[in-house]
């Protein structure tokens, strides 16, 4: 076999798993993830560390693989639950981005919507002393309504005044950040932590330090809700008129208009849903994962979620898997840096690489289909 042929067959074997179009939405992200782990391995090798051990530690830290030893009241299960706890807001935020995406809108304002809903829920319910049975659902409702209103405002500005949603969400992000920082520093500051005062346990969406079977674990109640909502969203998007209309507006505004779909109403509606989901991300973040708000800081989740949603193909179920992966890398990084002596910041580099390669997905798809066409041509000319 000549060298040329060898390369050809190698290429064929690499590409073949991706050539089935039905599986492409899954196979292409997987290939991008593999490529980025290889790239990350090269980076780690360059620093002079063992990449395999680093990745192994990453999974150990995230509670996917067992660690050699655990502190008291800890086990793999507690690690895994804190992974889910951290993942919950990311799932909601990515769903928020995905819905807006489907409508052809780009919601950069997830961080701002999260902050506003988290703050309102904190001051209304978090400091109220209500019973858990009332407080927890109320937190969710406030989060959803506040986020939905803010998202709706963006949609309305877009439809009514032709204000580009990218600009209005950026402006609203800053406004939310400064105004809320003002209120926190004036009225709700905890002088020791320099953050807002801690909320009551009853209002918190994560049950902290629950003792079960001699383990102390954090149980994220929001996670179950996140899964339910993702499935619900898939149903709404695929099977209902609302979902169809939103997707129609997203793929071609003019065609949708001529088909008799109310573009303005659907723009606002999509942003309300998106904002509502961002609100849920906000309450599970500020009243779940954390129990206070740091003034003057927007969470980076709002921006990460854009990329996570892309990695999951803006598909509600895909988003769950992509958030899971990103959360593993994020959560495992502390343990990795303590065990392997690699800087924790490498984890965000890995995440960046994964996202970078998954952005090339369209190119891979294009290449694969080109190679397939070539193959067919060759066979035809041979026969």
């Amino acid at each position: 076999m000549s060298k040329d042929k060898k390369i050809k067959s190698l290429r064929y074997n690499l590409i073949r798993p991706m050539s089935n179009e039905k599986w492409q939405p899954i196979s292409i992200p997987i290939v991008s993830i593999l490529i980025s782990f290889i790239a990350a391995a090269i980076v780690i090798l360059l620093i002079g560390k063992n990449p395999l051990q680093a990745f192994y530690n990453l999974f150990q830290g995230a509670g996917i693989l067992p660690k050699p030893s655990y502190a008291g009241y800890k086990s793999m299960l507690t690690d895994f639950l804190s992974l889910l706890n951290a993942m919950t807001p990311l799932v909601f935020a990515s769903l928020a981005v995905a819905v807006a995406f489907k409508a052809g809108l780009f919601n950069i304002g997830v961080s701002g919507q999260m902050l506003v809903s988290g703050f309102l829920a904190t001051i209304v319910v978090g400091y109220s002393g209500l019973d858990a049975i009332i407080a927890k659902p109320l937190v969710l409702v406030i989060g959803m309504v506040a986020g939905g209103l803010m998202g709706g405002l963006v949609g309305w500005l877009k439809y009514k005044f032709n204000i580009n949603e990218v600009v209005s969400t950026i402006m609203l992000n800053y406004i939310a950040q400064y105004v809320i920082s003002f209120f926190i520093q004036m009225y709700y500051i905890d002088p020791v932590s320099r953050q807002s005062k801690y909320i009551s346990e009853a209002a918190r969406l994560t049950l902290v330090n629950v003792e079960i079977a001699n383990l102390k674990m954090d149980i994220p109640l929001g996670f179950i809700l996140a899964i339910i909502i993702a499935i619900l969203l898939k149903f709404v998007m695929d099977k209902t008129v609302v979902g169809f209309e939103i997707k129609a507006v997203g793929s071609n505004r003019n065609a949708a208009k001529y088909a008799g779909i109310n573009v303005g109403r659907n723009t606002v509606l999509a942003m309300v849903i998106s904002g509502g989901l961002a609100g849920l991300a906000g309450v599970t973040y500020y009243l779940g994962y954390f129990s206070s708000i740091q003034p003057k800081v927007l969470s980076s989740i709002g921006f990460d979620s854009i990329a996570v949603s892309l990695l999951g193909n803006s598909h509600p179920i895909g988003v769950i898997f992509s958030s899971f992966l990103i959360s593993i890398i994020d959560q495992g990084s502390t343990y990795m840096s303590s065990q392997a002596g690699i800087r924790q910041e490498i984890s965000s580099v890995i995440i960046g690489l994964i996202l970078l390669f998954s952005a090339c997905g369209a190119y891979l798809k294009h290449k694969v289909s080109r190679l397939k066409e070539k193959e067919v041509d060759q066979k035809e000319s041979e026969s």
Binding site: V167, I170, M171, I306, A307, I351, L356
Partner: protein, 319 residues
């Protein structure tokens, strides 16, 4: 009054040069949300080169200002190649590519800053210390009432930015290259039919935006923050995008938008200071530029129109 103009200008001009970069890219048809990443990475390369050269030769870091300016522009341009390749060659979604580049820039520069600090300087630090660049005052002109403030305490980079901005304006509106660039964003097929390579035009437009963003980034690093750290990712790039959309993708209205930002920002800080309010009240005045923009947009954005082919992947075979 004077401080409002001085501080406002030193904030508005770096923003303006980044927005011009954005205009180049978007006018050629490539959506560019990556300005934030470009400016951060450019500032990183600029700061890194200054710190390394100062370390190797023992010169004062203040004297290396122009060197780091140059390297920042190169760095921003080098990083923008990723966006160009992804969105032009690989036909990736331009919005997604932009967001990914921002995330990657933040991750990469934070990682490299701590890593290089540890290896080269043996210090556990997450920033490169730069200091504030020296300012100068033009005697005579500075004594004119009100306008004199424009010539007082000027950062050298402000002059550089104005010169480059003027050149960029000329290139975009008065040359053949500029005309083709603008046409690529409106009707790429006609540009192609005229025998011009659309991809090449767009590629160079994105590189220009990277170059100018890098310049803007290092200016912020040498003035407001006085160092390079992850704090450079304050959202300047997004603000520049807002300014250019506000300015309807044209250079002069964008300058007005940037000046509005700058003066509203410094004005807000000035009011809060002169009223001797507790420091938490400054936060309330900080929202001034953003609220003002939203309000003005309500009146002005009816006529706003993005370049027609913006964000569309150019497909030669498409009709």
């Amino acid at each position: 009054m004077d401080t409002i103009i001085i501080d406002g200008l030193s904030f508005a001009l770096p923003l303006f040069i980044m927005a011009i970069g954005g205009i180049y890219s978007e006018k050629s048809g490539i959506t560019n949300l990556a300005l934030e990443g470009f400016q951060g990475f450019g500032a990183f390369i600029g700061a890194l080169s200054a710190v390394l050269i100062a370390h190797a030769t023992g010169t004062d870091i203040q004297n290396l200002f122009y060197v780091s300016l140059l390297f920042a522009m190169i760095g921003g341009m080098a990083f923008s190649v990723i966006h160009a390749v992804l969105s032009i060659k690989f036909k990736a979604d331009q919005v997604i590519s932009g967001v990914v580049i921002n995330i990657l820039a933040l991750a990469l520069t934070t990682f490299l800053t701590t890593q290089i600090n540890a290896i080269v300087f043996g210090a556990a630090s997450d920033k490169f210390r730069l200091g504030v660049s020296e300012r100068f005052t033009i005697e005579g002109l500075a004594n004119i009432p009100v306008i004199g403030a424009v010539f007082t305490n000027v950062y050298p980079f402000e002059v550089i930015i104005i010169v480059i901005a003027f050149f960029a304006w000329y290139l975009l509106y008065k040359t053949k290259f500029g005309m083709r660039l603008r046409a690529s964003g409106e009707n790429p097929h006609s540009v192609d039919a005229a025998g011009v390579n659309v991809s090449k035009i767009r590629f160079s437009a994105v590189l220009i935006s990277g170059l100018l963003s890098g310049l803007g980034g290092i200016c912020f690093a040498y003035s407001i923050s006085a160092n390079f750290s992850s704090n450079i990712y304050m959202g300047y790039g997004f603000l520049a995008i807002a300014a250019l959309i506000f300015g309807n993708w044209r250079i002069l209205p964008t300058l007005a938008a940037c000046l509005l930002f700058g003066f509203a920002k410094s004005g807000g800080a000035f009011i809060a200071q002169s009223m001797a309010l507790p420091s938490s009240f400054t936060d309330l005045f900080m929202i001034l530029p953003y609220v003002l923009t939203l309000l003005l947009l309500i009146f002005f954005s009816k006529s706003n129109r993005a370049p027609r082919a913006l964000g569309e992947i150019y497909d030669k075979g498409k009709r």
